[in-house]
Symmetry: C2
Subunit: 312 residues, 2 copies
Amino acid sequence: MQKVTAFAPATVANVSCGFDILGFAVDDLGDKVTVSLSGNPGIRVTKIEGDKGKLPYEADKNTCGVAIHAMLEQMDFEGGLEIELYKGLPLGSGMGSSAASAVAALVAVNRLLGNPFEKKELLPFAIEAERIACGAGHADNVSPALLGGFVLIRDYHPLDVIPLNVPRGLYCTLVHPHLVLNTSDSRSVLRRNVSLKDATTQSGNIAGLVAGLFQEDMSLISRSLNDVIAEPSRSVLIPGYDEVKEAIKAAGALGCGISGSGPTIFILSPNEEIAWEVSRLSQQVFEKIGLPIDLYVSAINTRGAYIIEEEQ
Amino acid sequence: MQKVTAFAPATVANVSCGFDILGFAVDDLGDKVTVSLSGNPGIRVTKIEGDKGKLPYEADKNTCGVAIHAMLEQMDFEGGLEIELYKGLPLGSGMGSSAASAVAALVAVNRLLGNPFEKKELLPFAIEAERIACGAGHADNVSPALLGGFVLIRDYHPLDVIPLNVPRGLYCTLVHPHLVLNTSDSRSVLRRNVSLKDATTQSGNIAGLVAGLFQEDMSLISRSLNDVIAEPSRSVLIPGYDEVKEAIKAAGALGCGISGSGPTIFILSPNEEIAWEVSRLSQQVFEKIGLPIDLYVSAINTRGAYIIEEEQ
């Protein structure tokens, strides 16, 4: 193999009551990374498209380069790699842009080098890349980007990543308002302490959400999609959030939340028809506000990242 | 029908990381209630056995009487009922003693009167009885006592009670040290606020526990049985707790916790053999301390309360 291209999907982290512990992957929307063997040792980023010139070419600053470097440290590989990154995801949107790039790069390199690692074993390398990109080694985007579906991050010490069931029919709408939220700002609005009552409510809801996913009980999923910890402080940073939330519930969506640390809003629906309807309703809300948005309607991705092209 | 006897099982509430939201029922151990039609209108408690004279005969103070009164308020019933209560559960042990009495009474009366309610519809009446017995209308003992298995109490407004899966082979050991813990004391040691970090850890663990129950993944259940909110403050009230916890983990048990507000310790095991072994180890710990205990080893009850005798 001389050249491999892999795709990794957009992901939603901080899934409502699953704040900091639950993420899921969406279909189609994502990043592509092409990796080629090179005669010159070392990792080089040779092309980046779709980033409007914002991402660094230095391999030790680029999320793809950092992930691959972490991987190669666990192997005997003395050769060279050239990386081309094709961004399908907007940066800083809360849709797991850095995670998708890192995961696509890892999946491509793993195949290029003859699959020295099981898919799940690539996770720690992707987490290293998140540490560079986000300032913290979160696993709630990279895990679903790699594995697909809903993934619970139960613990980090040691890492305990648990794929959950994906109910048939579940659809996602992503509403990306064109405004910039800094991840660290978004984190600073969170309270450091929560009441025992709120902690218990959140526990009840995440337990209900996990049960609803396994039982494929759309009503239970809907009743459980309620975040009393992060959403109250974070949603005020997103104009239109409350209006969207009200409109989509009336239209039969299961619920919504802030994707990652925002500003993207994710909406879960019990079928594709409602997912398109709430897309239309969200458009109306933001037209009134006068804020441009991008809209994506997608099934839940259940296979995670995958190879799309190989050249001998 | 003139006379019906029902059984309701002991229950474990506050199941580790499921503090305040999760309970389960055990087999065999429980209370029996016999209810008979009477020519004299009103509810009368005519016999109580096994309570060492501690429970009140006044129907408006007795958990059975209160539960039945709440039920009859929703019906047209002008007759009289006589109640006999046979306590199999020790009072104030944290094994859902008041819940078992209330639930057994409700199931018996419901049958006696021709099943005017579905089983699940009896829950609000049992919660009323808990309000009298415990000072708060908790549902985490009465729900598993009535329905069996593991039951999640996602919310109270409105009541949202979700039966979960019970993995095959799961066994419970109950260790009841002979010491008296007052429920309100046990509650007062809880902090009113918890760190965001602890709240997130608890959420991850309850999500893992629910996933483990559905996936019948004993290892995941074990990794998730970790309560960072209530156990650290409450376990200091129970001498021997830490020693039991250490001993049972080494013997292959999945984990342990404080049953309800204590002092009973529950231990979950992946099979009956280990459940007996940890029973023996717990005995050793409390012998060293010099504190008498009662021990019970039981499968998880999956059918809840049931009728054991009827007389025409």
